[in-house]
Symmetry: D2
Subunit: 451 residues, 4 copies
C-alpha cells in the first residue's frame, strides 16, 4: 500500500489528478458563462462542487484568447469588487457607531469577493500554477489600464504574498542529477547569462566548482520560482568571462574561498513583486558556509543595467562639470568598437570608474534610493558594494547597458542584518573603501565624507 501512497502523493501534489475524471469538461466557454460559474463558485457552500467548478473555470479561462481574457479581467473588476452602495452604507454605519459588529460588517464588505474567488479557484488541480499564469496575462493589461485593472492585480498579489510566504518555500539544489523536465526550465528561465544548449547547461551544473539552488513552492513542485547560480572560486573574479571559462582550473568545493553568485533569475512573470530573492541568496550563503567551512567570501558578480542610460541622460551642466578623465571616458565609449582596442580600454578606465562611483553613490531616485535596480536589491538585502570592474562584461549586452561594467556586492553574513536595517532606515549605502575612493577628488575618504 505504500506504493499507492507515494503515487497518490505525487498525483495530488503535482496537481495532476482529475476530479471525477470520467465526466467531460466544457471545451470552450465564453466570458458571460465564466462569470456565471464564478458567481456560483463564490456563493456555493459545497466544497466538492467547488473543486469541480474551479476546474471548469480554469479550463475555460485558459482557452480564452487575448480579447476574451481582457473581458474576463474586466468582468472580475466589475462584478467581483465590493458593492459601493453596501460599502458606503457600512462605512457610514461604522463612522457613526464604530463598534465591533459594524467593524466586522465593514471588513466583510470591504474585502473584494475576488479574493474568495481566487482562493476557491485554487481548489482546482494545478490551481496555484494556473493563478500565477493568470496574473502573467493580467500584468501587461494592467499596465495599460491601471485604473480599471489594478484592483484585480492587487487582490492576486495580496494572495500570492500570503501563499508564497517564505515559510512555505523549499530550497532545492539544481544539479546534473535533477530531472530533465526541471532542467529544461532552467535553460528557458535563465535571464542574466543565457544558456544556449544542454552542453552549456552541463557546464553550469556539473563541474565540482559549480552550484545552483532554487526555491520551489510545494504546490508547483516541478517548476522553480527563482534560482541562483554559484561559482566556487579562490578569489573574487574580475569578469564574467573568467567565471564561465570552460578551460578554467576547476577546484574542489572543499578548497574554495569564495562563493560567487553570478546569476539570479526569477522564473514567473506572474509572481512579479512577490519577492523572495533576498531569502534565496542569504539561505544559500548560509548553507554553503555550513557545508564548506573554507568559504570566507560571498559576493555577487552583478550587471549594472542603468549605467549607460544614466550617462546618456546627464544634463549638460553636469556633464560640463565632470572631471577630464570622465569626459574622456564618455567620448571613448561613444566611439565604435572602442572595446576592441586595449589602449582605449585602458584610457577609459579611470573615467569610467569615477563615473561609476558617482552613479552608485550619488545618483538617487526621487525616493532617495539608488538609481540602479540591482544595487537597490542587493543593498536592500544588506550587502556592500564591494568592487567596480571595468570591462567585467564586454558582451554586446554588457557594453550596451553598462559600457562593460560589472560589480561585486559582498554579503558579509554577520553584518547583513545591521546593514540592511541601516539602509532601510537611513538609506545608508554601504560601499567598500576602494569603491568610495573612486569618487572624483575624494580618494580614500569614507562614504559619509562624500555623500
Amino acid at each position: 500500500m505504500s506504493r499507492v501512497s507515494l503515487l497518490s502523493d505525487l498525483l495530488s501534489s503535482i496537481g495532476a489528478r482529475s476530479w471525477f475524471a470520467g465526466e467531460e469538461r466544457p471545451q470552450s466557454v465564453d466570458v458571460p458563462e465564466l462569470a456565471a460559474l464564478c458567481h456560483r463558485l463564490v456563493s456555493s457552500r459545497g466544497e466538492a462542487t467547488g473543486v469541480r467548478m474551479a476546474a471548469d473555470i480554469i479550463h475555460g479561462v485558459r482557452a480564452l484568447d487575448d480579447k476574451g481574457i481582457k473581458r474576463f479581467f474586466h468582468m472580475l473588476a466589475e462584478e467581483f469588487s465590493p458593492d459601493p452602495v453596501e460599502l458606503a452604507e457600512a462605512a457610514t454605519a461604522y463612522a457613526s457607531h464604530p463598534d465591533a459588529e459594524a467593524l466586522v460588517r465593514l471588513q466583510q464588505i470591504a474585502e473584494p469577493p475576488r479574493q474568495e474567488l481566487f482562493r476557491r479557484l485554487n481548489l482546482a488541480p494545478g490551481g496555484t500554477a494556473e493563478l500565477v499564469k493568470l496574473r502573467e496575462r493580467l500584468l501587461p493589461l494592467c499596465r495599460k489600464d491601471p485604473a480599471r485593472l489594478a484592483p484585480v492585480d492587487k487582490d492576486l498579489r495580496h494572495l500570492f504574498q500570503s501563499w508564497f510566504n517564505r515559510g512555505f518555500l523549499m530550497l532545492r539544489p539544481i544539479d546534473w542529477n535533477t530531472p530533465a523536465s526541471i532542467l529544461e526550465k532552467i535553460i528557458q528561465y535563465e535571464a542574466v547569462h543565457a544558456i544556449g544548449n544542454w552542453d552549456e547547461l552541463r557546464q553550469r551544473l556539473a563541474p565540482a566548482d559549480r552550484r545552483c539552488f532554487a526555491f520551489f513552492h510545494p504546490s508547483i513542485p516541478d517548476d522553480p520560482l527563482i534560482f541562483v547560480e554559484v561559482a566556487l572560486t579562490d578569489e573574487i573574479p574580475a569578469s564574467i568571462a573568467s567565471v564561465l571559462d570552460p578551460d578554467r582550473a576547476i577546484i574542489a568545493a572543499e578548497d574554495a574561498q569564495t562563493a560567487v553568485f553570478y546569476s539570479i533569475s526569477n522564473c514567473h512573470k506572474g509572481l512579479a513583486s512577490v519577492s523572495f530573492g533576498s531569502f534565496l541568496i542569504k539561505q544559500v550563503a548560509e548553507d554553503l558556509k555550513e557545508h564548506f567551512p573554507s568559504l570566507k567570501t560571498f559576493v555577487t558578480l552583478s550587471p549594472v543595467p542603468g549605467f549607460s542610460a544614466w550617462i546618456e541622460a546627464l544634463p549638460k551642466d553636469v556633464l560640463e562639470r565632470l572631471e577630464p578623465a570622465e569626459k574622456r571616458a564618455i567620448d571613448i565609449v561613444s566611439e565604435t568598437d572602442w572595446q576592441a582596442d586595449p589602449a582605449r580600454v585602458e584610457e577609459a578606465r579611470p573615467g569610467i570608474l569615477s563615473l561609476a562611483a558617482r552613479y552608485f553613490l550619488r545618483a538617487k531616485r526621487g525616493d532617495g534610493q539608488p538609481l540602479d535596480p540591482v544595487a537597490r536589491f542587493h543593498l536592500g538585502n544588506g550587502a556592500v558594494l564591494n568592487r567596480i570592474m571595468h570591462m567585467g562584461d564586454p558582451s554586446r549586452r554588457g557594453l550596451a547597458q553598462a559600457h562593460g561594467l560589472m560589480v561585486n556586492y559582498l554579503y558579509d553574513l554577520p553584518k547583513v542584518e545591521q546593514r540592511h536595517e541601516a539602509y532601510a532606515a537611513e538609506g545608508e549605502i554601504a560601499a567598500s573603501r576602494p569603491v568610495t575612493g573612486l569618487l572624483p577628488g575624494r580618494g580614500g575618504h569614507t562614504l559619509k565624507d562624500v555623500a
Copy 2:
C-alpha cells in the same frame, strides 16, 4: 550534490533549520517586549530581519504561561486591530466619495494589522505549526471572552482558510510502513474508537483489508491534519465490533465490495472550523475505487452522538404522543444493564429504530438543520442516511450517547454533488427507503411524505 539537496529540502520543508544558528535566542520575554517585537516585525521592511524577529517572537510566545498568553492575546486585540479613528475617517471619506482611492484606503485600514503580523510570524522555522498551536491556546480563552478575542480568532481562521486550502494539502496513506513518529500521532489523535497500544494500531493498519489515509500540509509534513480509517469488507457491517474483530476472515482488497469509513479524526484543535473532512472522504473514495474496481459501496459506520440527549430532552407532551413501542424502548434503556439481556435488547429494537428515524428525519435545530452533528457533516457532504443499526456500538460510550445506535451514511459517488446541492439549497435530508420506512405509521412512504 544531490545528497545535499535532499537534506536541504528536508530541512527547509520540515522547517527545522535555524536562521543564523550561531547566535543566541532570548530565553524568556515578557508580553510588553513581545508586543514591541511584534510592532517592529510588522513595520520592518527587511525580509531577513523578519525571519529572525518572527523566530524570536514565536520562541517567546511558546514560553508564556497561561496568564502570559492571555495577556498576549489581549495585546493582539488591542494593539493590532484597525485604528477606529482612522477607520472612521476612511469610512466617512469613502461614504462621501466612493472612488477607487478611497476604497483602497478603506480596505487597507479595515484589514487588521494582525493579519500581516501572522503572515510574518509564518516566516519563522516551523511557523505554520506554531500558529496552529497558538490558535489552540486562543480558542478556549475566546469562548470565555468572545467580545474581546473573537476578532483575533477571526484573523487566524481567515489565514488558515487560505493556507490550508484543499489545493495545498497532500493525501497520504498511513500504513504499517509509515514512520513511527507519525504513527504515534495517529494513536494520540484517534478520536472515535481509541487505539490502546501499538498492537492495536497494527491491527488497524497492517491487515490486507484495512486502509488509512490522512491529509498533510507541506509545511507540517510530519503531523497529519485529519485521517480516516477504512475497512474493506464484503457487505455493510452491522456493528463496529464486527469491523474491529481481530478474528474476522480477512479478505483480499481486490475482492472487497464495500469500503467502510469507520473512524474520522481531526488532529489539531487549532484548525477547528477550517474544514477539509469532506474532501478527504470523497478523495479517498475516488482513489479506492480507482485501485479496486470491485468496490461498489462506500459507507461510513458512524456514531450518533446526540441521540440519548435528544430523548432525554423530549418535552412531556411529545413523550406522551409517542408510539407504544417507542415508550417501551425508552423505559427499557433507562434500566440498568438492559444491554446484557438479549430479550430486552430485542424488545427495545422497534421503538429505538422508530425514535432514531424521528431523530434524524424530523428533529431540527433552529436553523433547520438536523440535530445530529455527524449527520450534518455527512448529509452536508452529499451522503445518504442509509441504515440505522440497533446495538451497532454496545460500548460504554455507545450506550451513553446513543443507546448503542450506529448508522451508515452512504456515499453514492455519482450523486454526491447533486445531493450536496439539494441539502445545501433546500435542506433536503437524503435517506434510504428502509430508513424512512422506520418513521412511525408511515412504513414505505418517501421522506417527502413524512416530513
Copy 3:
C-alpha cells in the same frame, strides 16, 4: 521510507564514500606491486584492511595503460589460477578415494583464487562498476589470446552471472523526469537508432505515446544495464520511420492497442553474455499490460543484421536454384540507389520477402539455430516471427545490413513460456502464417510442411 534513511541510502548506494578518507592513496603502481597487493588481499583475514587494499588495487589498475593492463591480466592468469601440482595431487587423491574430504579439498583447489580476489575487489567503493569496466578491457585482449586469458574471463563472467542475477535487478522507467546524469547515458548507449541530441531524446521520452524502461543494479544506481524503448500505437507499424515521425498523431497511452519495442540496447560491454534482455522485455510487457489494459499486442520492430551478408555468401549452386523473383531482387539491390526508385522497390518486393523467409526459416548455423542473431534472441525468448517488412528501414544502415528489411517479433504473453520451451527443446521456429506463406512455392502451408 524515512527521510534520513533515504539520504543514507544514497550515500552508501552511490558508493562514493571514501574509506578512511583522510589518508592518501598511491598515485601510480606498477604491475608487480599490484600483484603483491592482490596476493595480500586474498590472503588477508581482515575485513577492513580488505576494503582499503581493494580500493588501492582498483585505483592502481584504473591507472594502467594498455600495456600495463595486459600485463595485469597475464599476471592474473598466471598467479591466480589453481596450482596444477596441488590440483593434480588432489585429483589423484579423489580419484583413488572419492570421499567427502577429498571432494572438499578438490573443490577448494580447483576454484581459481581469482574468484576470491574479484569478490574482495568488490569491497572497494564503486567496486562492482569497476569490475565491469575491468572486463570491458579484458574482452578484446581475450579474443586475441583466448588460450591465456579465457580462464580469467570465465571467472569474471561466472561472478557476474551470480551478481547480476535477475533477482537483484531493479526495473525503472526512464522518462523526461529522470535525472539528466542518467539521460545522457541513454543518448550515449543507444545502439539501434541513434539519438542525436537532447531534443531527439525528449522526442523519445516525453510524448504520451512513448515509454522507456531500464534495468539497474543496486550497486550501480546511476548507470543503466540495458534499456528498451517502447512506442504505444494503434496498429503494428510498417516502418521505423513511422514510429519515429515527430509529426505523427500522438495517442493517449490508455487508448493504445499495441506496444512496439523498437530499440533495445545493452549498455556495458563488460557485461557481454551476462544476459538479462529477455527478462526486460517480458517484464515491461507485463507491466504495460497491467497499467494499460487496452494493450492487446506486444511486438518488436527489429533489424535483420545478417540478411545482406547471408545473400552475399550464398553458394553459386543455391543461387542458381532460386526462384526468378528472388534472382531479380538480388540483381536490383546490387544496383546503386535502387531504393530511391519506387518502381524498383516494388519490383524487388516479392523476391526480397521470399529470400527473407528462407533466411529466417531455413538458414541455420552449425548448431541448428537460426543465422540471424536478433532472431535467435527473440525466438529464444518465446516470441513469434510475425511479419517481414520490405523497406521497413531504408536508412543507410538498414540498406547495408538488410536491404531495408525489418521484422516484427510478437510476444504473445500467455504462450511465451511454451514457445520458449519448444524452441529450446526442439529448435522449433515459431512464425506466423503470413511469414511461412512467403516461402517460395509453399504459400499458405505451415512451417512444418516447408521445413
Copy 4:
C-alpha cells in the same frame, strides 16, 4: 531521483511482484515433485521459465513441514552433488594431463549443481530472503548430521558470501522516523539487551543522544541484516544501567565526546558465519566522527558471555594456585544474592578483576585465540580491550554468564588496521595498561611481560 523511478524501484525492489500473476500456483508439492522441478530448473535454458519454476519450488519448499524439509535437504545432498564417477574420471584425466581443457572440465564437474540451483531459485520474487530462510532451517539439521548436510550448507554459505559482500550492503540509520514495519523487527531481533515494547524502543531511538544503524541488502530492503545501537555520552559509562537510564541527563549529539556501541545484533540465523559486523562498527564510527567532530572515543559496552563458564571449568590445580583474592571472589559469587550486598560486591571486586584479566589475556582456545567469543570479534576487528567493569551488568543474565562483568573494547580508528593485522598475524591481544595491570602480581607490566 525522479519520482517515477522511486515508485518503480519500490515495486521491483520489494520483490512483491508476481510473475504471470494470473496463473495459479501449486498449493502443496511433495519432495519428489520438488526434486523433479529442481532438476528441470537447473537444466532449463529458458530464463523466463526459470522465474516461474523458481517461484513454484520456493512456494513448495516453504510449505514443507519438518519431515519434508529434511527430505528436501537430503535430496539436495544426494541429487545435486557432483557425480563421483564423472568427477573421478575428470580427476584422473587432469592428473594425467593437466592442461587447460582438463582443468575446465574438472572445475565444471567439481562444482556442485546445487550452486546453480540456488542461483536460479534467486530468480523468484523475494528469492534472496527465501534462501536465507532456507538456510535457517538447514542449520540445525546440519549440526545433527554434518556428514550428510554440511556440503549443502557449504554451497549456500559460499553463495551468501558472494551476494552479501560488503560492497552490496547499504548502511541506514534506524530512528523514530523509520517505518514501523522495520522497527518491529528491531524489537524482535535485539539480542543483547531486550526491548520490551514500543515505549522502550522509543527510548532507544528517539532521544538526542541515541543512534542506531543497520545494514540492509538491496534485495531485502524491509528487513535489516545486523544493527548496532549507540549511546552518545560525555565519558565512557561504567555500566549498562547508566546507559539505559531513562532519567539520565540527555546531551546534545554535537557535544558528545564518546560513542558507546552498547548492543550489536545479527538478525538472521540463516546468515550465520556470513560476517559483516566489523564493517558495520567501523563504518558507523567513521560516519559519526564525520558528523560530530567532537567525538573522541569509540568504545563498546560489551558482555563477557564465557566468564562464568570458564571459572566453573577451572581445573582443581589451577584453582588452588589462584591468588587469595581470586579464591575469595569465587566463593562470594557462589553465594545466593551476593550482588544485593554492597559489602560483598566490593569485597569480590579485586578478585573478579584479576580473574577477568586472566580470562581475557591468558585463557586461550586450542587455536590460540581468546576464549571469549565477543573478545575474538572485537580484537579481530582491531579493537583494544580497554576496561573491565565489575558489576557493569547486574541483570540476571549478566550475573549468570559473567558474574556481572562488562567490558569496553576501544576502537582507536587510526590504529585499527594495524592492530587488526597484528592480531591476525601474531595473535597479539591489544589491551590497555589498566587492564594488563590487573593481572595478578604484574601490575603495570606490559602484556608481553605477562603472557
